[in-house]
């Protein structure tokens, strides 16, 4: 204990003797630890943001959209066929036990006009259940009910982005009359802000109106009862595959699709999409993390290099220590402690720099970041391990010096 303490004191003194050299040697470790910490913070921040987005989509959503049409050899893309109907949606409610809630929607981009302001946005005719299925809330006013939908009433609920575009700051949109395709609508509510999806779409840039109102007064339709999408919820994430299976079976039956032929609709599990984007951000983080680790490795090599120089410089000192009774392990320990002190002090400085860099990035680039104590501790310990690993070879070299040759060394 006494000896170890003396060794630590000696090591720190040796490092202080050459402040500039020690600082430059530590630089690799400082950059490595700082980079690891910053990368982990950014990665965790991104992951947390994705998690929030998954939440914002609504819980355990499955989306069904019509399939592609083919007319005269021209494929029109997903959703172009008028193959999905309100009847399909209500059938899902009845026939699929794993489904907890169903909503449907019809959408079109229209020009919304209020006073002398106008804004192009997605007008969506939705079933009254749409709000609960999407796990959305009304921020002000109210949502339309079953009766207003059945009566095709001209009422509208606006997304925050639309409110921001049409109304002056501080102006209350509730009760205002807006026009969609020249049809006047009364604004009865404003949706709570939901933010962007993981793929960058603004979910608040929307006007919600009753489905029947949309079908009959605004968007028009060729075949009554067709919808652009059906959204259903499952009770749990585990039930999602079952829900998908049941819906597929039911819809194939209803659409009379013979076995072996493709679906005329697409069923999508939104959690899967969110998971994919989360995985992508994790891959990115791991990539950056490995680059940061390389810098830690390079820092270790720098330590080894300077320790070898130090051993050579202090050959005579080693000789003296051996002559007065130091054992090989005393010398080994001394240089090992010195290398480890270099890497640990560098590691601590790296933590400070890393926290600073993370704050700076969060501030300047407005990226979500999340500092992590385990990552900080991990990076620090790895730095220490790097010091021990790369310090071992020079230390062993010092310990194996021949005392006579070392004493004669000029």
């Amino acid at each position: 204990m006494n000896l170890l303490w003396m060794t630590v004191v000696t090591a720190l003194r040796a490092l202080r003797r050459n402040v500039l050299r020690s600082a430059l040697t530590m630089l690799g470790v400082i950059i490595g630890v700082a980079a690891v910490l910053t990368m982990v913070s950014i990665g965790r921040g991104a992951n947390a943001a994705v998690q929030r987005e998954i939440q914002s989509l609504g819980n355990n959503l499955v989306m069904i959209i019509p399939g592609a049409t083919t007319a005269n050899g021209v494929h029109s893309g997903s959703g172009s066929a008028a193959s999905l109907t309100v009847a399909d949606a209500t059938a899902i409610t009845k026939e699929c036990p794993a489904v907890t809630d169903v909503a449907w929607a019809k959408r079109q981009v229209v020009q919304v006009v209020y006073g002398n302001q106008n804004w192009a946005t997605a007008a969506q005719g939705v079933a009254p259940s749409y709000l609960s299925v999407r796990d959305w809330r009304v921020g002000a006013g109210r949502f339309f009910d079953q009766q207003e939908d059945a009566g095709a009433k001209p009422v509208a609920v606006l997304g925050q982005t639309v409110v921001d575009q049409l109304f002056a700051a501080g102006e209350d949109p509730i009760g205002a009359i807006i026009r969609l395709k020249n049809v006047p609508f009364e604004v009865i509510g404003v949706l709570a802000r939901k933010g962007q999806t993981a793929w960058g779409q603004d979910q608040d840039d929307v006007v919600l109106i009753p489905f029947l109102t949309a079908e009959r007064r605004v968007l028009g339709t060729q075949i009554l009862g067709t919808v652009d999408m059906v959204v259903v919820t499952a009770a749990t994430a585990d039930a999602l595959p079952k829900v998908e299976r049941q819906i597929r079976t039911l819809l194939r039956e209803r659409h009379r699709i013979p076995p072996g032929q493709d679906d005329d609709f697409t069923v999508r599990d939104l959690n899967e999409i969110a998971e994919a984007s989360k995985n992508a951000s994790e891959v990115m983080m791991n990539l950056l993390l490995s680059v940061a680790s390389v810098s830690l490795l390079v820092g270790g090599i720098g330590i080894m290099n300077i320790m070898l120089v130090s051993v050579t410089e202090r050959t005579r000192e080693i000789g003296v220590r051996l002559a007065v009774g130091a054992r090989t392990e005393h010398i080994l320990l001394q240089f090992l402690v010195e290398a480890t002190a270099l890497s640990l002090v560098g590691g601590a400085a790296g933590l400070v720099v890393g926290i600073g860099a993370t704050r700076l990035i969060a501030h300047l680039a407005a990226w979500p970041t999340l500092l992590s104590a385990p990552a900080a501790a991990g990076a620090f310990l790895v730095a220490g391990a790097v010091g021990i690993f790369f310090g071992f070879y020079p230390a062993r070299r010092a310990a194996r010096l021949d005392p006579i040759a070392a004493l004669r060394y000029e």
Binding site: N2, L3, M6, R13, R17, R316, E317, G319, V320, R321, L322, A323, V324, G325, A326, R327, T328, E329, H330, P403, I404, L407
Partner: protein, 244 residues
């Protein structure tokens, strides 16, 4: 020191052979030497005569290629590296021509160095180091750095360091080689006094006649062999120093 008593140092037909590339260097060629406890011996000879090699063997810094070396009851020729380190730590003190002090450590820390490796408690290290510095006439210089001390004072620090763990054997390799005559005399007087006070056995390697004059026995090396081993009466100056 009674006749018949087993010698402290016993070299028997010791050879030391080095290989420098293809060249074989026979530094010692069959050296046998007994030194009894309490003796004050000078080893003299030209450079390359093997006297320093012999000194390194006696100091357990090296192992003989052939032959045996007994130090007290230990057969050094069979000891491991760390066992020899333990002997150097507790039983032998070294004094070098160029002092070999640690330049960035104070006089006190230099003296305490051997005690660190002998696991002496910290407070005891400080106490003993202070005492030893006083014993070599450097009271009050505890916190001086070697660069702040004269050559003679630095050699005194080195001697205090050599005595740190209370060894019975003091080995000095050209201890006055870097000193002026005045300092040389003081250092040799110090050896005499310490020998008397601490019952030390002292072996000095030197090529300076006036240093050898202080000793009671002169062993002369030439070409790796002992060519003469003569007792002598210490010089008048030395005798006076002993009486003083």
């Amino acid at each position: 020191m009674a006749p018949g008593m087993r010698p402290l140092i016993q070299l028997r037909d010791v050879w030391k052979v080095y290989h420098l590339g293809d060249v074989e260097v026979r530094a010692l060629r069959g050296v046998s030497l007994d030194i009894r406890a309490g003796e004050f011996v000078a080893i003299v000879g030209a450079s390359g005569s093997g006297k320093s090699t012999c000194m390194n063997l006696i100091g357990c810094l090296d192992q003989p290629t052939r032959g045996t070396y007994r130090l007290g009851d230990a057969d050094v020729s069979t000891l491991s590296v760390n066992e020899r380190a333990a002997i150097r730590s507790h039983r032998i003190g070294f004094v070098f021509q160029n002092f070999n002090l640690l330049g960035r450590s104070t006089a006190l820390e230099n003296v305490a160095l051997p005690m660190i490796y002998a696991n002496v408690p910290f407070a005891e290290q400080r106490r003993r180091a202070r005492e030893l510095l006083a014993a070599v006439g450097l009271r009050g210089r505890d916190q001086h750095m070697p660069s702040q001390l004269s050559g003679g004072q630095q050699q005194r620090v080195a001697i205090a360091r050599a005595l740190a763990n209370g060894p019975s054997l003091l080995l000095a390799d050209e201890p006055t080689g870097n000193l002026d005559t005045q300092s040389s005399t003081e250092i040799m007087d110090l050896f005499l006094r310490l020998r008397r006070e601490r019952r030390l056995t002292i072996v000095v390697v030197t090529h300076e006649p006036h240093v050898a004059d202080y000793t009671e026995r002169i062993v002369t090396f030439r070409d790796g062999r002992i060519v003469s081993d003569e007792p002598q009466a210490p010089s008048r100056h030395a005798t006076e120093a002993v009486r003083a």
